[in-house]
Point group: C3
Chain length 681, copies 3
């Protein structure tokens, strides 16, 4: 990892550009340049999936078309993010070297097709990647338009071929040294699963072993490490030839809830990229949630990816309209494109980039929203809205490189999510670890309080408040880290299903760990898992709140009881407690409550920790104010995530970057309207 940053003082606007699909259409290629200017774009990602255009025959390379495009973009003042093409390979390679294709978990060799389906271990694939990457670096590594390297595309998936099995066994040998240690970690004797030779180990499979949690967890760790290893192999020639060019790869989110991508541990991967970039596709205007609730989820995931490196990140892909892979691919309503693009910036992005510049003519992505539609027109609504975003980005260019400061951290741990989802017990359909964190986050988002979403690798001491709910898996190091944090004055919040297993997914011996008993002032005894229609309630400050899914039954030792259960055999027992430990404080939330309880509890905690937003802007729910700051200024992004007009009250005067006017007092925001207000520090 380096601390390279993007060598351009503009907020990046543009996106994936695939001229290799249009080489037979010279008039289209010409139009592209004209339209790029009209759309106020400045940065284009080339070469993603271009391998068959770059090396149509083994060992014969064609760079002419790429030379021409990069030069043309450079000439018009644009910059290029150049991708390595490994996300898909030419058919000739799969035909000649089937080993480059993946083997599924059912041990079936896949056929050529799709994308993201190459074996990360294959020596031949690594060799071919090394050759093409070196060629690209030699040819373009010092091109003045080159802004950044983009490695492959959306790394994901795993391979179970013999190469990967061998690598997995090596990885396990490095980790455990002896089978005795491995068997202990995997709880080998259970179901006679003791391993007696390294060669007996096989990756998890639905036609073999799928229930050994230690194996499952180690396989997921190995897949992350092996993917990073492949990525590191890819960047060797790039680093060697163009050492000053930053390197990234595009991350993703999972499901309509936009939870953190689950197949790879990005907190490990982030250490190896210079800049975090990612692809964000919220399902705006859907029919199951309000716009503001989705907006909070978008805030959460962007704050997580920003916090991975605690520096501005890039939106590498987004859409100006609908996508093509949601269940329902609805078009963005007028105004939403500007609002949602500004939201990226508000949470720390220095770019608004699209997939893709121009809609394909054929194949499966031809209806994915793009800047230029099949009509090749600059007059249609989508193009106009993109152009408006371009204009806005130019007006707020000074926010580029500015930071967000947070005194609150929510802990998100990729491995905890893996282990908890694998756990048998509880209820699979209601675990929802990432969604639970989103709910805690929402209590702060509503109040415009900046939050970092941090991993367990990161330092906690700088935060006034650390929130770590559902931390099922806690190593001794984690427990010790949390204890120190509290002892030295921090405030810690945790919840049901926390502290049950160590980092090999073995239950802590002697039950709930002693340090947790100390800091929370109580002992967890049982976790009651409720059926979907079951309801309980707790009473807190005289008010009643609904409970579902989970109730922790604990024995209070010395904590203050904040709330008690209203029903069932633990009626009257503590449901939420608060404790003092060392110079710090802890809160333990025993049950899954409705959102309003979290809002109200965090209101109390915020007062106690003296947390508040820097903004002096009052508004109703659904408006979000996010802050970026430079040495001299605060920048407040005021965003109306409702379908109604909203009157906000400015308690001081601000400079409006978009209208370039100074404003104060009452201001009315149209539906989906956004303002960017500057205030001197």
């Amino acid at each position: 990892m380096t601390d390279k940053t993007v060598a351009d003082n503009r907020l990046l606007h543009g996106g994936d550009y695939n001229p290799d699909q249009w080489l037979d259409y010279p008039e289209i290629l010409k139009d592209d340049l004209r339209l790029m200017k009209q759309a106020k774009t400045n940065t284009f990602t080339l070469g993603v999936f271009a391998w068959s255009a770059l090396e149509p025959t083994e060992g014969e390379f064609q760079f002419g078309w790429l030379d021409e495009r990069i030069d043309a973009i450079h000439k018009m003042g644009g910059r290029v993010i150049l991708a390595t093409p490994s996300g898909a390979r030419p058919a000739w390679m799969s035909k000649k070297y089937p080993e480059v294709l993946r083997t599924s978990e059912k041990r079936t060799k896949m056929l050529q097709g799709g994308r993201h389906n190459h074996c990360f271990s294959s020596p031949i694939y690594r060799e071919k990647v090394a050759i093409i990457n070196r060629k690209l670096a030699e040819r373009y590594g010092n091109h003045p338009a080159l802004l950044m390297w983009h490695i492959s595309n959306e790394f994901s998936g795993d391979c179970h071929c013999d190469f990967c099995q061998a690598n997995f066994r090596s990885w396990l040998k490095d980790k455990y040294e002896t089978l005795e240690k491995l068997n202990h970690a995997w709880w080998g004797p259970f179901w006679s699963h003791t391993i007696t030779e390294w060669s007996e180990i096989e990756s998890p499979s639905s036609i073999g072993e799928s229930m050994v949690h230690g194996l499952n967890l180690d396989w997921k760790r190995f897949v992350t490490d092996q993917t990073i290893d492949f990525y590191k192999h890819e960047i060797v020639p790039l680093r060697e030839i163009s050492p000053s060019i930053p390197i990234t790869t595009n991350f993703m989110a999972d499901t309509h809830d936009l939870i953190p991508f689950q197949s790879l541990n990005y907190s490990e991967f982030a250490k190896h990229v210079d800049i975090v970039s990612w692809d964000c596709y919220p399902a705006w205007h859907n029919d199951w949630e309000e716009t503001k609730d989705l907006a909070a989820k978008v805030g959460f995931i962007n704050d997580l990816y920003r916090s991975l490196k605690q520096q501005p990140f890039l939106i590498m892909e987004s859409t100006p309209s609908g996508v093509n892979w949601h269940d329902v691919n609805k078009t963005k309503r007028p105004g939403m494109h500007l609002l949602s693009s500004m939201q990226f910036i508000a949470h720390g992005s220095d770019s608004v980039l699209y997939f893709q510049w121009r809609k394909s003519r054929g194949s499966s992505e031809k209806f994915h929203g793009a800047v230029v539609d099949h009509d090749n027109s600059e007059t249609n609504r989508v193009f106009q809205e993109v152009s408006a975003v371009g204009g806005a980005l130019e007006k707020i260019a000074e926010v580029k490189g500015t930071h967000k400061q947070a005194r609150v951290a929510i802990v998100y741990d990729w491995e905890n999510n893996w282990a908890l989802n694998d756990a048998q017990g509880f209820s699979d359909s209601t675990k929802q670890y990432p969604q639970t964190l989103q709910k805690h986050y929402q209590s702060f988002w509503k109040k415009d309080i900046s939050v970092d979403i941090v991993t367990l690798n990161q330092e906690l001491a700088s935060y006034d408040l650390v929130i770590a709910p559902m931390l099922y898996m806690m190593s001794d190091e984690t427990i010790s880290k949390l204890e120190s944090y509290v002892f030295n004055g921090g405030t810690l919040v945790s919840s049901y299903i926390s502290g049950l297993v160590d980092d090999t997914d073995l239950a802590h011996l002697s039950g709930w760990p002693a340090p947790l008993k100390r800091i929370f002032g109580m002992e967890v005894k049982e976790t009651d898992t409720l059926y979907p229609k079951d309801r309980n309630a707790l009473i807190y400050n005289g008010k009643q709140y609904e409970i579902k899914d989970y109730c922790t039954i604990f024995e209070n030792k010395e904590a203050d009881v904040l709330a008690t259960y209203m029903e069932d055999f633990y009626q009257g027992n503590p449901a939420v407690v608060k404790n003092s430990y060392g110079k710090g404080k802890t809160y333990f939330i025993g049950a899954r409550t409705e959102q309003s309880f979290l809002d109200d509890l965090y209101e109390e905690i915020q007062q106690e920790v003296k947390l508040h937003t820097e903004t002096n802007i009052l508004h109703e729910e659904g408006v979000s104010v996010q802050t970026r700051e430079s040495d001299d200024y605060y920048y407040f992004f005021v965003m109306n995530f409702t379908e109604q007009k909203q009157t906000i009250m400015l308690k001081e005067s601000f400079y409006d970057l978009l209208t370039q006017e100074t404003i104060d007092e009452h201001v009315e925001l149209s539906p989906y309207e956004v303002m960017v207000l500057r205030k001197e520090k």
Copy 2:
């Protein structure tokens, strides 16, 4: 194709007869003949799936049992439809020659079992089929009882073995000549999918390529062509030895909605059969729709299969009771069997044939409704109802060979359905192209107006009104054909999601095609796909109609606005427009509306085009009157598809073929009652 017709002047009544299952039961075989007469049946299909009875050991044939049955049927005045046995093969063949078995899309070689599972390319299977078919033709081709050849059974499915891969590549070479053209059609550079050697091409697979729309589309076309090729191979000896005997194979419908069978393009297959025949199994009395709504679907599919050759067709299979493969296998209520059988005739069938004559004793079809039940009795309800149908068919025998005349055509395009279902964008669960056509059809069915369902190969000029909704895929030829049709005075209706791609599934360059803009007087800009709970509305003639699923946003140029949107950001924009072009007119329906809008719009159009039914019969909704006509007579099938009595008003007098009385004025129809009324022209 020839224009052979069925050489028997009776309406055919009978069905699949499988005496090979009963060769150990001589008393059953004897009873069959007696019961056939009692059931008033006259035609039997023999030999379907009889291969193991005909050739129990390789090269040793046993025709004695079949000789005996055919002679016996002939003797009692019956006719025989003789099937080739290729729909399933003896176990010895699969054992000795595994190549005759299919390979799945996952590249797994199947085992012997089931039916319809042979490779269409296997040289050995073709050889074996040629031998047995020649034997059958030699032995029975000139038998006086032989009415028709029935090739195999319900052709369907595909095979991915090496033979089929080789044939697919040859087919592609014939079509594209160069890989350059193929890569352009398949949009090769997308995801680096460019093909550089023909041998790299593989059929679509869930373990390989599944997202290249051009490949998917060509594979489906190939499968249709390869199936037809196999069929053509089958008929060689039959044509040679019995040139005057017509040949058919039985077509099918798909899903409970009875949409056109989707795996094969019947509009191609129909060119190669002498007579269209098909197997119709509506789920009468179900719990999700009214009887009249299902009846309209039955009307639609029968009108489609009739229109394939614009001549009477045959119902090759139907059931007198319940089937065995619906989710719920409910028995037909009294009267429904006669009503539904007459409906086949009403829409152009010259037969009512059943699967099957006698219920099997064993295996999976033993509870499929049949004429003779396990009780071997002629006294039970089902047998009695079959016998009543036989009696009715004798009374109306003069309708045999008469035609239907339609001035309205609805376009159904098999390839459009394939391409649209494959399209990513929109929403998979709401595309429903065939179901949408059924809704348009229903507006005419309710008014007793005859409709042809035509394919794009067919001539349009003879129709006063052509309806082509959701025609996503339009080749330049199609666009030109539609333009000419309108220019020369036709009236054309189209809708949302039309005209987006050409016949290789590539988006039309420059957006919506210029000829479409001309004829509709507007330009389509965006298609908004709604979430399931989303609703909009349009206002037309002062009345409001609900919209869901799809809204087209278009820019009106010169069309008359018939309806406008009531909600969302395109509120007030045109939703439905009408235009004049040349001597013709067009209507464009931008959104998916409730049925009543289609009914009301088509009411306006019917008046404009001066469309009306030939019948002079007034009735409430749920009664359907369908017309067949000879040179001298109209035949009106008056059918009560409700569970209530219905009073109809005859505005002139008719001759009732079933009661053999002349009737006029008010007549009362019992629930499910049917009348067949004749009127001189």
Copy 3:
């Protein structure tokens, strides 16, 4: 089979003990013994899945740890159930001899992993099992602590490897002798499925044959026989060396409804075990049924497994808390553990054993409820409740070995369930044969009348009432047996979908069998299968009851009509009839009704047959009184399966074994409370 019984006069309390998972934790092993005493446990099952601990390397055995544990248990007065370890095998064995692993029905060789996945035919696996079992018998067969052998664990599943195919063909040759007979039974000519060489036969497969009912049925029979054959192979050395030690294997139930396990025919398997034992895991406190309804299902399955040998059985596994494999793993509410444990005893169990003694630290079962939790504490709620069960079992020890006497039998036939589920026709989602029997059972459970659930192998003459609903498959022997039973004075109840096929799943020739027409006094004509939303009703004794799913239309000959249909085309037709035949009576229930009809009809039948409970205890619904009896005493288990207090009325005085007081008149039961009352005969 022998009539060995458990040589210990205590009710067994304890469960699966897996010290092999804890050999690295000597302090845990020491604590176990102390805690066992505190929990009032006396019996432990060792060795399940311990193969890798017993034979870590091929041919090298380690028994030291097991010696030590068995001796320690013996020393504290406990007994041991010793398992053979074949339920899972060491990884070295799968690696060296892949033939020991199963082949799936798709013909995929499985990988090492999971459990219960060994081929029952593999010669090598049989050899390895023989060696280890002999070693165990030699070492422990005469140990004074040894109470019983436990063979493998939860036998289930099938294998489709070449060994199994060969064994299946041999089994078929033994059964049918000629292919002619086999083809007749399988209705060979259907779809050309005639077998011409034995080698053509393959087990059913989703990639081959799956629709030949005779094949499917024979495969299931073969799998049962082959599993039993494997079991018999396992016990050879045990019988030889320790002939007096009883042998069992643990049976299971299926689905949340606790229906009889469907993969194996336990009525065959039960002949080969000395004592029936099984694993019972009801989902108490769920959100889709009332506690009393689930309790009746628990009663049904326990009465079935008791009736298999008509002697006390053992609960081999249960949980003191929640399990880990339900969709929702809720903890047992206070009191439920004692209540549900006593219910096992009430229905004939002589044990309450748990899976497992101590929660694992790792892998997939670590959160399955156990006696000792991860906290290793005897103070927690679950441990305390287990200890209370131990105390109660000691107080009621005298019920050990006592019997239940029933005058009512409900017929449950495993093969009928297989055949009916395979039948095409009716509606797959509403067949629910076992659930239908549960509903008939409930009518007696509510009235505290003891019921045996018997198979067709068992003698019926001793019962006053035999209930055989939905007996789709009836061999001629079965029909004859039922006819004799009625003729000689028995009362028989049957229902819709009965008597349709013989024991090869061939429809009875000539329709409904003549003996059935005779005994029921009518003839079944049609079965109408209703759609899910369809409803009909019947009227019985002036009261109306709802009908769904199935209606039989029959022609009454001489039966008395008890109820008639209220709707549809069979309105007014008989729905339920009663007939006299010989000295006996029959009832035929034509339709699926709501529960209250069954309750009311059986009230009438109970009066007619003079059936009543031995108890003199009055209570509301939700309280169950089950009776065991010795030569001298009745033991009444009075159980409150409601969440409310219940007042019961004792019409005489009883001795309360738990409180050791004599009680009479009104007694109040707390929610979930249980009493065990003794009365002299």
